[in-house]
Amino acid sequence: MKIQFVTGKGGVGKSAVAAALALRSAQSGKRTLLVELGGQSFFQHSLQTESITYTPTLVRPNLSIALWSGPECLKEYALHLLKIPQLYQLFFENAVSRSLINVAPALPELAILGKITSGPPRNVGPALPFDCLVVDAFASGHFLALLQAPVGMAEAIKMGPMAEQSRGIQAVMRDPKISEYFVVSFPEELPVVEGLDLWQKIQAQVGIKPVAVYNRCLPDLDYLSESSPGLRPWAEQMKQSLTQQKRFAKEWVQAGVNPLILPWVAQTTRGSAWPFVEALAQDPAWSALHV
């Protein structure tokens, strides 16, 4: 089982990259689950699929999508551990415990990670019949908080089931044979600076070097040579963006990271974003990855 976490600053195209990764994995014959976190499905609208819920929905051969929220993951875990449905109902239908669960520090985060890492070697709860999980994870700060949840919990609480779970989750997330991390950015200062910072923090936290994905890059062309007078403003803009793109790429390289460069892909048709995801998934740059 492989788990691929995809993160980055908001708006960098995390979800598209996650979908492309998942599609590639499915096309290579692996049973793949694309996981969305939170309460609302993004892919249901953008990929125009059937309704996406906690239970995986098959959307393509070998490719399913699921939407996992903290409270739902916690519920499943509780049922697994308590085993008595009445007790579980009593617990989750109690107004006070409900509001507690909503905000109890790191509990929902821990439950989400517990669910993601519930397959082998932990084998906690219901079986996850997939070879690869691609997690369209939270943006930078929130993702770090997610990573921190089992660490903080294991430090705060040293004994009991919670501590045991936290340690098990951590072990999976630090295992390079299972877990992979992708930090997505694109050629602008904030996404790059935040991306680099995130890249370093993830590595420090889990000891695994994330893959840096430099998304929406322009092809390296001589734009000014092609321009008729009418296209001059466009060509100048492209040249400026390209210069900036190269400058930020250098920042990644200087930090010792060789980013995987993905192209800017236009969205020119209405309807499902599948053609967009397919175009992104077909890019030759991916071959640098050992998928």
């Binding site: 600053k9 943006a139 600076v193 020119t268 209405r270």
Partner: protein, 369 residues
Amino acid sequence: MFDQLAKAKVLICVGSGGVGKTTVAAALAALFASQGRRVLVLTIDPAQRLKTTLGLPDSGEEVRIQGPGLKTETLYGAVINAKATFDDFVSRAVTGAGLGKDVAERILRNKLYLQLSTTLSGSQEFTSLERLYSAVNSGLYDLVVLDTPPTQHAIDFLQAPQKLAALFNDKISQWFRQTESKTGWLRSVVHAGTVQVLGALERLTGSEFMRELRDFFQSLEGWQGRLEDRVTAVHRLLVDPDTHFVLVTSFDAAKLQEADFFAREIRKGGYQLSRVLINRAFPLWRERLTREEDRRLVETPISALSPQLQLARQMLLQDDLRSQQYQEFVQMMARQCPVERLPELGEDVSDIEGVLHLQSYLMRQGDSK
């Protein structure tokens, strides 16, 4: 464009992460300051370059913003330090309730509080509203513009303080206190249901976690009302007729759909959504393209175009689609609130020049109406 907002005392910029809220908030603040009003912009985690060029200190202090090209002397700014503000609020609430400093320290040291006061659980949202509330009540400003913390969905921001208040709710603490009987906790027979629920929680989490949890709730005793009061007062400020929400969004079908949903929710909550700003909605170069050039690109067979021109054509087609989608979106939102587009400036906007450029664009839109 912004006549309706001329009397606003509070502007809250909401939107999901990465849409450019901070820059838009700063540009709006600069715009109103240029009309002579004393404006404070409260930002959360701005880009280093923006922080540097605006001269905002990390201490969180409110300072006057000066900069090349800035033609106003009434623009102020501050960075919100969430953890420090939250700790400070808790300390003040505890001592204000007549409890000792040791009580405050006990809370600040509680392991669960430490997790609570980080980015999780809505404390950041609560903190930014707390800071807004203090700034408005200081009477120093005519207008306070708040840039909100990055959330996955725009609506998360509004729900966070209530969620946090629910945790600090007296009922939960009582619940933990009631189970603390003289014969030891979980032995009370008074609330059998409660005991069972707590028992379930303990089986799930372990006794050590429960001890921390109990300690946390017990330490809230005597001052938690202050947090609830503040949440109520903040809510009153948010529904005030002089408080306006501005939704900043990017151009993305899913985000626009969310904007519609958000507009409804925000109304349901009794708040005023006064503007939707779609950031980076169109490229500036498009305006400067000649008609003939435009048509030539679209009508020439792709195979006859150089790689450069194929890219230009793709960009044109995407922009055409977006223009259509924009018109549809404006119509859809017509009954909710006005919508404006901001251009993709094509330069890095994370500094004061970017802010001023955006401000000039906002102003231009104002002139055309």
